[in-house]
Symmetry: C2
């Protein structure tokens, strides 16, 4: 599989997680930052290889084969991210672009050895799950902080948006994976939240709360 084919497959995988129907040409083009016509070309190729099912004008869906291939790329991406953060001291907002390259290195032995070296992690530095060598994914119950009621307490287990600016904002506010967050108040006008983290009280916008995954605790 080529570098480019892998990127398309990964994009289709990510898009298919949020929609249960076929993934549209335009959606792929937007994510990959290319043009719809380029996408049409590529999905024909992927369909020929039986990695996706494609009918003209109907969008695409991953086959079992394609799903597994996509998961293996995601596995590589996320394992490399763990390596960069845990072993090479990268910050969590610096790893994406490098992992984007590393994910294309073709060696099963390499990735399985790396997995062992890292202690078989189940989540990457942003809280996203890492498929194991068979493609199995451990699902963590989580919800968005914005869905919490007043008085509820949770632990931060992931981010929905992992853009540099968002991650750096969290660093600045000292919110990290594992942080305990309590919702103290909710402003009905703009849905901003007053929360307590590390004993400190702060106000965060609804947009922030809508990008933070939390797990309920007692």
């Amino acid at each position: 599989m080529t570098y480019s084919e892998e990127n398309y497959l990964k994009a289709i995988y990510h898009l298919s997680l949020s929609q249960k129907q076929g993934v549209s040409t335009n959606a792929i083009a937007a994510l990959i930052e290319s043009k719809a016509s380029s996408v049409t070309d590529m999905i024909k190729k992927l369909a020929e290889k039986e990695l996706i099912i494609y009918q003209k004008y109907q969008g695409v869906m991953l086959t079992d084969k394609g799903l597994m291939a996509a998961k293996m790329i995601v596995r590589k991406h996320r394992l490399w991210e763990v390596f960069l953060v845990e072993k090479l001291d990268f910050a969590w907002d610096e790893v994406h672009d490098v992992a984007e390259e590393l994910e294309h290195i073709k060696s099963e032995k390499l990735i399985n050895k790396l997995d062992a070296f890292l202690g078989f992690p189940t989540e990457d530095p942003h809280g996203d799950p890492i498929p194991d060598k068979n493609g199995n994914i451990v699902k963590v119950e989580k919800q968005l902080l914005s869905e919490f009621e007043i008085g509820q307490t949770g632990i931060c287990v992931g981010v929905k948006d992992s853009s540099s600016s968002f991650l750096q904002y969290l660093d600045k506010q000292q919110i990290a994976l594992g942080s305990k967050i309590k919702v103290v108040a909710k402003e009905s006008f703009d849905m901003s939240l007053t929360i307590e983290v590390n004993g400190k009280s702060m106000i965060i916008s609804n947009k922030i709360a809508g990008n933070l995954f939390v797990k309920t605790v007692s």
Copy 2:
């Protein structure tokens, strides 16, 4: 720089180490396993970018800029090899192909962090020198075992040929970097050597001896 440009640059670098004049088109084609016409195309491109000096029919030489770029690729290749052997328990004959891919990952930060993580090694698993971040290379005096006289003792510090079959032969004979080797006798008919390694005596062909680098010791 593209993947392909980097490979050409690296090939030219390796070839220019053994010859002091310009590197010929055919020599590059042979090393890269491509055709002379393809090489001509690429060296024109590299010359435009001022990475090499090229005059028709005269072969090529690296510019300072090209030399540094080539050294950085070699640096990456060899650091990754150290990582694979030291951290992921690869055998020394398994690392080349994977490193061949990893050397193209574009991140200065990554490679310098990796360098630090590995403890700033100066040699790769085959005894070849690793350029530092400024391109400096520590030279080790070494000679081929085949050049040793009877009675001389040395320590194995590298291999000239790092093909899988040769490295596996050395593993089988329990010859590794650091092994102490004493030349006991030399057969004048075929130049084969009787040597002592790890207290054991064995006979090795001239071809083997001509691919083992050793450093003289007392």
